[in-house]
Amino acid sequence: MSTVETAVDMRTSLGAVEIPSPVLTASGCSAFGQELEPFVDLAAVGALVTKSVQLRPRSGRPTPRMAETPSGMLNSIGLQGPGIDGLLADELPWLAERGARAFVSIAGTRVEDFAELAVRLRGVPGVLGLEVNISCPNVESRGEVFACDPVAASDVIAAVREAADPAHPVYAKLSPDVTDIVGVARAVAESGADGLSMINTLLGLVIDPDTMRPVLGGITGGLSGPAIRPVALRCVWQVHQALPGVPILGMGGIRSGLDALQFVLAGASAVSVGTAVFNDPSAVARVHEELAVALAERGFASLTEAVGYAHR
């Protein structure tokens, strides 16, 4: 990421931890960061939000795992990953060596799993904080979506906040597939979330016109990409409107600096770039630069001045 030629102060923070750029990767869209190295200066990225990890290694779902959709895609990876041991042994040390900040996404099927993951990540070098994936619609059953129930969601967040390293900000990642996202946001904020990541994918389905069956083995999958951006922005807007004091990591279809600007103006103090990385492996760095230019053009001296500006 080349230093941009603007005077805009791009620093922001995740909870109480300062980061040099407001542009992060999105969980599951940049693996554990290694593959981006040819395209992006990893140490300059706000933080690398790693693929959601669980206690045990997971194979993930059989293929086909994706379908392209208009301005988006549907995925059903099934949280393939090395498990917490693999993460601690291989991925996190690699990132720490390069001075990259890891915002570790954790996932589980029981409250205790989340808490145990938080404990395992205490004091680990290079770990900046935790994003708690309570909203992934790709796991085995619909029942696992904690994020659709304010009570279940708060239970997880309270347990993680208690178990986690006090220096680690804990962000709850919310699902848009709810009648009242503000209700869920309020519940997790009251249970100790230091911030909110929003949004995860929307539950979607594609049918293959040839086989005449759902494309994905898991039938439904998660919809992401620019197609969902207006929904993501609406969620960020509503939650910032209701809870202006709660930091938001905004995401959902961000592809350009002007897209990121919309999230910032709506109330996000940082953003994640997900699916756009598949289109452009240098997207995270490009969005940072474009956002800096856009802020400068609009007369902002710092990113933080622009956060929530559209509400004022």
Binding site: G28, C29, A31, P57, S59, M66, E68, V277, F278, P281
Partner: protein, 299 residues
């Protein structure tokens, strides 16, 4: 199904990584010509050309900023050198159709070279190269490298029909022998590639194949059955091409003998033919690492 209790008797080692990391460039289309049912595009892409090794591919962005198609399309490199990279594209769906419609002077956004190249042949081994459809294009560079290294090279190029053959003339200029087969008999010998492969396998010390999955499976199985190492370049549906999305996996046996869902973009597309569990592609069997966490356990 491949033996997967340990790695005993495995004929291949996993293909090593490429020497160079990929780059991302906006490049100019400097040549376009129809090749039978396909379109060959030539790109002014000097640093990609320098880095590319046979078996690698590039990934194209489709349609610019206002395109509804977000995912890159992976296309094998058919030739690389003199500052130029060539690809042969078959218009399968909207993305590849868009590619075939590019004109000279157009700019395209491309990432590459991607994936692991074909590994070297065992010392002194005669190589059999098998290409299906446009898959033959990916073998031209390999054939040239192998002959330059002093290996004897035989080629089988097969396709459904004459118009879906590819790169036959180029391969004839390099290889010792090029057998052509078509399913409908409209060119070369009628039938699948196997009719020629079975003949040529006898003299081969290593097999390389690129083409549709059923062909790869047949060729890999035939080679393995005779104790000949084979390397196949697979074609799995890819969203990113660079290893970050996990959509392109298939079950592959590692050096520890355990099967993992491996990314065909970064751990492939070239895999040992006796390491890909072709029968289980698209399925999740209990012995894949991490299947237990998905609720799939040993029966």
């Amino acid at each position: 199904m491949t033996d997967h209790d340990g790695d005993v008797g495995r004929l291949t080692s996993p293909a090593p990584r490429a020497a160079h990391p990929p780059v991302q460039r906006t490049v100019e289309v400097i040549g376009r010509r129809p090749v039978n049912a396909y379109v060959e595009l030539t790109l002014a892409a000097s640093d990609m050309a320098e880095r590319a090794e046979p078996g690698q591919f590039v990934a194209f962005a489709i349609g610019g900023d206002t395109s509804a198609l977000l995912l890159r399309r992976s296309i094998a490199i058919s030739a690389a050198g003199d500052g130029v990279v060539s690809v042969v594209v078959s218009a399968a769906g909207p993305g590849s159709t868009w590619l075939t419609q590019r004109r000279v002077g157009d700019a395209v956004d491309v990432v590459g070279p991607l994936g692991r190249p074909f590994p070297a042949a065992p010392a002194g081994a005669r190589a059999l190269l098998v290409g299906g459809g446009y898959g033959a294009a990916a073998l031209v560079g390999l054939a040239a490298r192998l002959t330059a290294q002093g290996h004897g090279v035989d080629v089988v190029a097969g396709a459904a029909s004459a118009d879906r053959l590819c790169s036959v003339a180029e391969l004839q200029g390099i290889a010792d022998r090029v057998e052509v087969t078509t399913d409908d008999g409209s060119a070369g010998r009628p039938g699948r590639v196997t009719v020629a492969v079975d003949e040529l396998l006898a003299g081969a010390g290593v097999v390389y194949a690129c083409g549709p999955m059923p062909m790869l499976r047949t060729v890999a199985d035939a080679a393995s059955a005779r104790g000949i190492p084979s390397y196949v370049a697979v074609e799995e549906s890819m969203a990113c091409g660079i290893g970050v999305c996990m959509t392109c996996v298939l079950p592959v046996v590692g050096e520890d003998g355990r099967t993992r869902f491996s990314r065909s973009c970064t751990e492939g597309p070239v895999f040992g033919g006796d390491r890909v569990r072709f029968a289980d592609v698209g399925a999740l069997t209990w012995d894949v690492v991490g299947a237990d966490a998905m609720g799939v356990v040993q029966p």
